[in-house]
Subunit: 420 residues, 2 copies
């Protein structure tokens, strides 16, 4: 008989079981030792009685030791999960030294030993949900006939201004690490029309906040012939798909993380659509005033559900965004604000006409030479198109109810954190 | 009636159709204009007769212009795909300037205008297959209960020697771009046990070959409790799954690319397993001699099917590889050679015991301080585990029959190529 996952033991389908994993907790008296064993699927209590052939080995066991255990499974209401293994065989695979993580260590220490802290129930559950979200993203696009495409991380010029770009020594010259696939994605559209990516993006972010990372995972999509309303509706379907997928497939994880899922369950489309003009009125700002992180959280808290902020003033957004024909001082751009998080996606329609793009680049003081290949898209069969980008970690924060973005990625990178 | 993909027109299910795309070719006489229209799904011939309301617009059309076309669909054996649209309405969306790509341009020029060359039938078909391969990889792991996990691109120390590492200005210090997730993956295993990734890897590769890139996409997996035989069998299942998936879902693409699929169809497990000792005997080398790219291609050509090269001399491989208990001068490592390509995957069992790892690091002249967090895995509940890595682009080369690796990724990066 082979090893079985702990979740199968808890389901009660085995009378005897052979499991392997790590010692999560140990409690011992003179006549019995209780070991809570952990594998990726769950926790199970194992009891070793004095006189059992496993007794001597069990006495040696330390927290985080790896072991193989066999024994009889019996129901026990007092045991976590309702089942217990009465151990008759126990093999220590790797006896652990004294584990450095205990209840009273600091957050900073936990980040120093991140490679061990990833074993915590909290982080493990978050990463399980993260993986399921990625799966749901791939699924969503595959069902809709999209192609997964990758753009380069190395770029030559510091597009869109360079204050947050990382510089790389690229052989005998300089290169920069990409912050978005967008310009590359646009020029791919005449070949494939509907494309998406999931890739790291790099941002030399000097601010220390609970929602910024120097390296984050960036999901982006770009679609030929999509208009602004289509872009908003697509994102609604996308967020709803992910929310429902996680509700359905991550029940245990969300429960263990203490995520109150009532807002996820009641989520429905359409989301609220609010123009910038309306938002600043609510906030008491003047035209041209930035909408801060705090403002975003207020707007979405007041609304009680996701909010699309749209129609921003042109000079607050990027040069490639299409002005609204009804009100050309604003652009057809949208930020999706999620409750408790704020901005999670950002998208827009892209400028179609070459003359408009040239004018816009002049307005933004960009050198057309740096964008010649991008301009070619408008020279050779231009067409309406739109897309959006999303920070995977912010979405994980929202869906798992995690307060700090550093907990949503296994090995976070920030201005002060480059190890482990 | 909405727009339909060209593939639906060719299937003959519409009597009338509205399509949009780009002008792939144009041929004109005094009384009729033929336009071959392209969208991501295919090509269709559209005929505009003199006197039709679309005639004047059709005359203006240039190659790569974007258009919307409506008309009646009728069968025509002479038309490519067997169907033709008799156009009665034609709207030019973006009239193209004279397209710079023609039959007689150089390879180098095609790389300069890569952003336009991606529209070619060849590259489009390759990227379609590439996307389908990525989908098949995700599928394969999801079915087997694996988690998709990401490791950082920024690392502090130049592990495994630094000659091919890219250096980054990381705020006020230096960092390096990662070449493998492996050390991070190993320490994640006590949390999740079965994990995989698809992410960019960076290699400052000064050699100009047809199978190296400065940035490539790297699939890696790591599995707790997996032994060497398990690792080989897993990779066989993996390669077979991908091959069958592509055969099934990319028929049109492979046909258009002229890929002779007989080797894919006849592929079966087990693959050939050949120890290094046997390989050098066949090649006439002495013990310790490198197996070159050319050697690899010879071995796999002679075999006529994929070959696992295994049991390399220890000092030819990485410090973390487990020596073969039967023959400790060799390690439990494997390279999978594919016909025409050579090495495509590389994997190994990882050293389990702390003392063995320390001894190995001394042998490789590595500073244990740089690997303290990695060593912790052996301090706190060590266990057997194994994994492998694969270059996505090499796999795409093999499955699509592409000669040059630069054609398997949309915007290749090499020592001499950083744009577009």
């Amino acid at each position: 008989m082979g090893f079985v996952p702990i979740v199968d033991v808890l389901s009660g389908k085995h009378k005897r079981a052979k499991v392997r994993g790590w010692v999560h907790r140990k409690r011992e008296s003179k006549t019995i030792i209780f070991v809570v064993l952990r594998d990726q699927s769950g926790l199970v209590q194992c009891a070793i009685k004095e006189g059992s052939p496993a007794w001597e080995e069990a006495k040696k066991l330390t927290v985080e030791s790896s072991v193989e255990i066999s024994g009889e499974v019996h129901k026990d209401k007092r045991a976590p999960g309702g089942c217990e293994i009465g151990v008759d065989k126990l093999t220590i695979v790797g006896l652990a030294e004294r584990f450095p993580i205990s209840r009273d260590v600091s957050e900073e220490f936990l980040r120093d030993v991140r490679h061990l802290w990833v074993r915590s129930r909290k982080l493990t559950q978050i990463f399980r949900v993260r993986s399921e979200i990625l799966h749901a993203i791939h699924d969503f696009y595959h069902e809709r006939g999209y192609f997964e495409i990758q753009s380069p991380s190395f770029t030559k010029s510091a597009c869109e201004g360079g204050t947050t770009l990382f510089e790389v020594k690229y052989y005998d010259r300089k290169a920069y690490l990409s912050q978005s696939w967008q310009l590359y994605a646009e020029v791919m559209l005449p070949a494939l029309q509907k494309i998406y990516t999931i890739a790291p993006s790099f941002r030399a972010e000097r601010s220390r906040t609970t929602r910024h990372l120097s390296e984050y995972w960036h999901h982006e999509m770009e679609t030929a012939w999509m208009d602004f309303d289509g872009l908003l509706r697509f994102q609604e379907d996308f967020i709803l798909h992910l929310t429902r997928h996680v509700l359905k497939h991550c029940k245990t994880e969300l429960k263990e993380l203490g995520r109150d899922t009532s807002d996820m369950k009641s989520l429905k489309k359409p989301f609220i659509r609010m123009k910038y003009a309306e938002a600043i009125k609510k906030l008491g700002h003047r035209w041209g005033h930035d909408i801060t992180d705090k403002d975003e959280r207020k707007l979405v808290a007041d609304a009680g559900k996701p909010v699309f902020l749209t129609h921003f003033p042109r000079d607050m957004k990027a040069f490639y965004m299409e002005p609204d024909p009804q009100d050309p001082k604003t652009v057809l751009a949208c930020d999706l604000l999620l409750p408790g998080i704020g901005e999670t996606t950002g998208g827009s329609c892209r400028i179609v006409k070459k003359e408009d793009l040239e004018k816009s680049m002049k307005m933004y003081k960009l050198d057309p030479k740096d964008y010649d290949w991008y301009m070619d898209l408008r020279r050779y069969g231009s067409f309406p198109h739109a897309g959006f980008g999303l920070g995977i970690e912010r979405l994980v924060m929202w869906l798992t109810g995690t307060k700090h973005i550093m907990d949503t990625i296994p090995f976070p990178r920030t201005m002060t954190r480059l190890t482990p």
